[in-house]
Amino acid sequence: MEIRKKIVKERGEEGGGISIDLISTERLEELGEGKIRFILDQVKKGKVLVLEKGLNATEELELIRVTMTEIDQDSFIGVETPGFTGNMSRRTFFQRLLRRSPPPRMMVVGPAHLLKTIKKDGRTIEALILTKEELSSDELPSGLGEEGAIIDGQEEE
């Protein structure tokens, strides 16, 4: 609750909304090893990122590790990272042979106090982003609000 108020205060009325950035695969590839730093910097500014191609498992664990080093209970409590994982049972012959997971696909990364995964399975993700009104509401309990923006993502057949 305090974190939400702080962000609204820092951004003022105009900046109280939530910024959603769509990041292309090309942009992420350009960043190379700076990918994690870029993502975390944006998320710490209160942005929600939609990555066209998600992080691989090694990068995700690195994101978790770096996130843990930067958690500050008054301003940043971590990340929420709903993403498609691929259907393990639909791996190719070579992926099965080498015991590889399917390649990463679309992923959403956001600050944990703003983004909440509601429902997720191998094919559908439902996430909720808390809105400016909710950010500034004193009545809102920690966790979900009632009128957040809902993002639905579905795996293509």
Binding site: T58, E60, T69
Partner: protein
């Protein structure tokens, strides 16, 4: 198990280590320490750590050496490492609001929990295999499970998925098995000891 893995495993067995370090991993409150306690009680007579319904009770990794497990005609000497739960976010408010903890203690717990996650990740460099503990009553597709599975595969670490709490009414170990069919899944109740014989057989089979 893939052909390359079998060849690799056969080659590795020529240079088998005397002790195998097995990390117990998973998200908070999956039952990692309860499982560690069950294993070490069964084979050494002593538990490893304190358990609690409050998440992040284990905030430092603990290691118990010389845990000799005998099953299916084999005998293997394990080091069991109970690791802190891995999470993508840690909010002290949860400890205050859900469990009535004092703010100062909650903040300290949250700080220690972040350090615990980092320590658990570091331990991945030093284990020979992993027991990945999932709560059978929870969604197996949570990001921690998925990230860990991907990492363990990238590191080629033998992994057994432990579908814990399978005795709960809402539990569905089959959902876990369906989500991650490439790894053996063993349903157990670490708290009650159900299914442990199957787990020990799987450990000597997949980790040796």
């Amino acid at each position: 198990m893939g052909i390359l893995d079998r060849l690799f495993k056969g080659f590795r067995s020529l240079f088998r280590k005397k002790q195998l370090s097995i990390g117990i991993y998973g998200p908070p409150n999956a039952g990692k320490t309860t499982l560690a306690n069950r294993i070490t009680r069964d084979w050494t007579g002593k538990p490893m750590g304190k358990t609690s319904e409050i998440p992040h009770e284990t905030r430092r990794a603990k290691e118990r050496k010389e845990v000799i497990i005998k099953a299916a005609g084999s005998r293997i000497n394990f080091n069991i490492i109970d690791t802190p739960g891995i999470a993508t976010k840690i909010d002290f408010h949860n400890f205050v609001e859900e469990f009535g903890m004092e703010e100062e203690k909650a903040r300290e717990r949250a700080k220690q929990a972040t350090e615990g996650v980092i320590e658990a990740i570091k331990w991945l460099d030093n284990v020979d295999g992993v027991l990945l503990v999932m709560d059978s009553a929870m969604d197996p597709f949570n990001q921690v499970n998925v990230t860990l599975i991907g990492n363990l595969e990238a590191r080629k670490l033998p992994t057994i998925i432990v579908a814990n709490k399978f005795d709960l009414k809402e539990a569905s170990p089959a959902t876990i098995k369906e989500a991650f069919p490439q790894h053996p899944t063993i349903p157990i109740s670490a708290l009650k000891g159900y299914g442990m014989d199957n787990l020990y057989k799987a450990m000597v089979k997949y980790f040796r």
